[in-house]
Amino acid sequence: MRQLLFDDIDRPGLHTLAVYRRERGGYEMLQQALQMEPEEVLTQLQKSGIRGRGGAGFAMGTKASFIPHGDMDKYVVCNADESEPGTFKDRELMQKNPHLLIEGICIAAHAISANKAFIFIRGEYDLQATILEQALEEAKRANMIGDLDLWVHRGAGAYICGEETALLDALEGKRGNPRLKPPFPAVQGLYRGPTLINNVETLMNAPLILRMGGEEYAKIGTERSTGTKVVSVSGCVQRPGNYEIELGIPTRDIIYGLAGGPDEGRAIKCFFPGGSSAPVLPGTDENLDLPYDFDSMAKAGSMLGSGAIIVVDETIPIVDLALKTAKFYRHESCGKCTPCREGTNWTVKMLERINTGEATPMDLDIMASVQDQIMGNCLCVLGDAMAMPIASMIKHFREEFEAHIEAARERTGLGVSLPMANRSDHAGPGPLLQPDGGGATAAVV
């Protein structure tokens, strides 16, 4: 398997400037980029076709090309607030090869003529932030990064700060609330100046793209998902960890081949293909054979997201999984938009009702309609990030939910519910009109 970022990443001392320069030709690409016109660097990035590795999958070169020209203060912000459950690739990359990130940021800054840059790293990554600070200090002392004003900024623990506009608010010293878009950060971002925000892994690819040339880089992976991707596999697998793959290999090869699959004798119930915000896919052969790239995952009704595969085996009750997921988003909702603040809270309450035996199968319809009403109705996608997996769980595992509801009612002595009798106009609009076809559960596919 071709490795770009993870190639011999455990080499002792790679996090120091001396080893990085000697073994990897460190900062050569930056020197080369500084000799080039910013437009030429930008063209290389665009030709590479690299898509953002943080979750949205937007083409990096295109994003950078939206930055206006001119003499105003422009900023590059590296999003190292890796908080998506199941994702831990940036952590390992930053810990083991911090100089590659610094070089990538400097190249991106040159491409858009930015003079100030920040690495926004989550506060919990103490070790990684310290390593980055030391590396940056070393690079500054050796006069490697030119006149770019680059700083490491530690966050303080909030999932929402991974959202780009919330990150900007946090970086400006406020509560991390997302902003209304447009204007997009490329036009009006940090301190109201044009800002390029990219994920750690995306920026780390920039020196590699320049080294091999954008067109050569585009040959790796599939046509519309170029390059390699570091995939974080976790959950019920025998060897969880980060694996660098070429985009487009079968998902089965990642889960079974690299991560060892679930324990002997257990089947995969479902998996999140791209972090906990991605709709789950049942562990059928059809889904496991899907090529792991942006478009195939989207076509299958999920998303590649941050490239974090969470594997759930058959021993895990789906209700517990849904409750865990919903509780996370309830805790992390910033509270600015009502659908998200209330929707996450009510979803948790309804899932708890299932466990206490108070729920009826009608609750599933209401829950699905709550998800439907969150989708697309908030400033940022945190609410959607709960609505998508929860709706997909209800869609794929409705029978298990219903069995769980009946079992809990039996246990608490409430008796069998009468689902059809309970279905009335009070259950809310949408899914009840078309219980099998349209409505909330199908809308998110």
């Binding site: 459950p85 199941g86 831990f88 919990e124 969880p240 960890g241 991560a259």
Partner: protein, 238 residues
């Protein structure tokens, strides 16, 4: 069904929302920017906050790093800590309190010196994090030095279930390991040195099945990681 009003719990100012009467004393005027002449600020903290302020085009960006510094010094974001930062940054204590209450790592209530974050998010809980959290809470007991908190994904699902002790990631752990974590912290030793994340090589170099404790099930309690994993040497200086 009517509700008996006397059974509805209410707080001092009549609200049913808990915490509203803690957050603000409604009888007082909002605090203004503290007066430097009457607010003593430790020299080290002042220098650190001013250094942060100099890094950003807008000095307010230093709020989070400055609160980190104050929390390190005072142990928590106490009213004094916030007042001192507010004094150096020329902001109102209200502004900084708003920031401090938003983020999980800041505590506006007294807490123990040692932060123990137990990840209880999806990946870790698939491997028994909830039992680990309970074990950690009972291992720490009512020792005032420990601040055990269940945390959302800490970004280390490869060593799930894991905990972060004062920023040091360790895992995979089983509930029985919690006593050693407490003992190591009390003795001032590196906590669970052989299972610290900083020593872990890339997953491909690990044996399959040795990467983490297998997920516990009711019929088979969680087991510790294999010996093979503990022998893996990593760069010690990282």
């Amino acid at each position: 069904m009517s509700i008996d009003p006397s059974r509805v719990r209410r707080f001092a100012h009549g609200s049913r929302v808990p915490g509203w009467d803690d957050a603000a004393d409604l009888t007082k005027d909002p605090a203004v920017v503290p007066d430097p002449a009457t607010t003593p600020v430790p020299e080290g903290l002042r220098a650190e906050v001013e250094d942060y302020m100099s890094r950003y085009p807008d000095f307010r960006s230093a709020a989070i790093p400055a609160l980190h510094a104050a929390q390190r010094l005072h142990g928590w974001c106490s009213p004094t800590a916030i007042e001192q930062v507010a004094c150096v940054m020329r902001l109102t204590p209200g502004y900084l309190t708003a920031v401090a209450t938003f983020y999980d790592m800041f505590s506006t209530e007294p807490k123990g010196r040692h932060d123990v974050y137990v990840c209880t998010n999806i990946s870790c809980s698939l491997r028994g994090a909830d039992a680990l959290y309970e074990a950690m809470v009972s291992a720490a007991g009512d020792d005032p030095d420990f601040h055990v908190q269940s945390f959302e994904c800490l970004g280390a699902c490869d060593i799930a279930p894991m905990i972060s002790v004062d920023g040091e990631y360790i895992g995979p752990l089983v509930p029985e390991d919690c006593d050693r974590v407490v003992a190591d912290v009390k003795a001032g030793r590196p906590v669970f040195d052989e299972r610290q994340l900083r020593h872990r090589p890339v997953a491909e170099k690990l044996p399959v099945g040795g990467g983490a404790a297998p997920p516990p099930t009711p019929d088979r309690p969680a087991e510790g990681p294999t010996a093979a994993q503990n022998d893996v040497a990593g760069p010690k200086d990282m």
